[in-house]
Symmetry: C2
Subunit: 243 residues, 2 copies
């Protein structure tokens, strides 16, 4: 094989990986807008819009299948260069996590339909706040993925603690409403499930962060390992303590 | 390449696929035993056993990563024969669904810890029934996968309706306890989440059924398509109505 043919094949493979990355980012952006639409639907109590979100989830699921197909075909047709397997492996995992995020967003929208049929209960606004935290995590982690930025991914991974805390607080709020008046129990149960779905979106965003870290650094992201990375903790450089 | 070398490569690929199938079945059996352990933990209120189940989930997650790695490496090293891509694609999806099943089982076990810290409430036995339905679905679908049996997969897919119905009934039971006495709300909320996790296990079992159907028949499983399959509806043979 001539030098230029080999270069051509390597270039094609890079092009394919770039295209794959773009598809995954696009899929992630769809999932984020699904989440935003789901919260809008709760605020406006719009059943048709809720059904719209539910239907859109099929598009995200299809994208994930296409991405998996592309990956499988890519590997079957082109012998990858050492190191590319990690990119491909990360692409598969991240696409699967984004598909879950889309699912959870659709679940939130789906649940707004039975919610709108029962008496309104005041703390729905807390849900919007949770959703915005989760949406920002997903947006940030998609940027980190596009830029292959492990540090940024680690930042998102840490920031998920804020969503977990907000979820716990919201959960406790709902409990007080339920205890106050039995008529609040059914609507609050719906809100509880919706909040749980949103908290899970955050979990999947941290999964994506871990995949990015592994893809870039070749080792799993753990709190200890990340702390010892001197670029995230300047103090350690002083102590000369670098792993 | 000599004929026997070519045969050797084909045989190796088949061996690898067989090994992969075995690994996936083993992973699924782990997930089922996790679910059984989780329910046992609730009944016995055993915190240490609950932690044990949570820790075991790492083993299932690791298995899924290994399987994904194996698939990626398999494709990279051996040009697959036409049709094998479908097997490989199904393997990836099914491993991901089993990993979710393991996650949900671990979540059920994890939640038994806060549950044991609050006043007991009687309908925990309903949860065991839901879990047994779900566990049977998973066992059945693993057999269907091992045997590449699309009809059996379709049967599991239909049977999930029973779990959905039982879940709804259990949910309604819990609502009455919550409305009866505010002190029941917190424990019932835990049971609610556990029941939801179990219901989701059933959803993932149906996902696996759909993957098996697609792998064997090359087209997606939908209620209509499956009904028109004359082997599941003898009436249609009489009418001569075969798709």
């Amino acid at each position: 094989m001539s030098g230029s043919s080999k270069e051509h094949i390597i270039k094609s493979y890079d092009d394919e990986l770039t295209r794959l990355t773009g598809e995954i980012v696009r899929m992630g952006e769809l999932a984020v807008s699904q989440l935003e639409a789901a919260i809008d639907v709760i605020d406006r109590r719009d059943e048709r819009a809720a059904q719209h979100v539910v239907n859109n989830d099929d598009a995200i699921d299809l994208l994930e299948q296409e991405i998996s197909h592309d990956v499988v075909r890519l590997l079957a047709l082109r012998a990858p260069i050492a190191g590319d397997l990690r990119n491909v492996f990360a692409a598969l995992r991240i696409a699967a996590d984004i598909e879950r995020i889309g699912d959870y967003a659709a679940n939130v929208a789906k649940r707004s339909i039975p919610l709108s049929m029962v008496a309104p209960v005041s703390p729905t606004s807390g849900l919007g706040y949770l959703a915005e935290l989760a949406a920002q995590e997903v947006r940030d982690v998609l940027v980190a993925y596009r830029d292959r930025d492990a540090e940024h991914a680690y930042q998102v991974w840490k920031d998920d603690a804020e969503l977990d805390e907000a979820y716990t607080g919201y959960f406790r709020q709902l409990l007080t409403y339920m205890m106050e008046d039995p008529r609040n129990i059914t609507p609050c149960t719906h809100l509880l499930f919706m909040a749980k779905n949103i908290e899970r979106i955050g979990d999947h965003a941290t999964n994506i962060a871990e995949s990015i870290w592994y893809q870039v650094n070749g080792e799993p992201l753990t709190a200890q390992r990340a702390k010892r990375d001197f670029t995230s903790n300047p103090e350690l450089t002083k102590l000369g303590n670098k792993d």
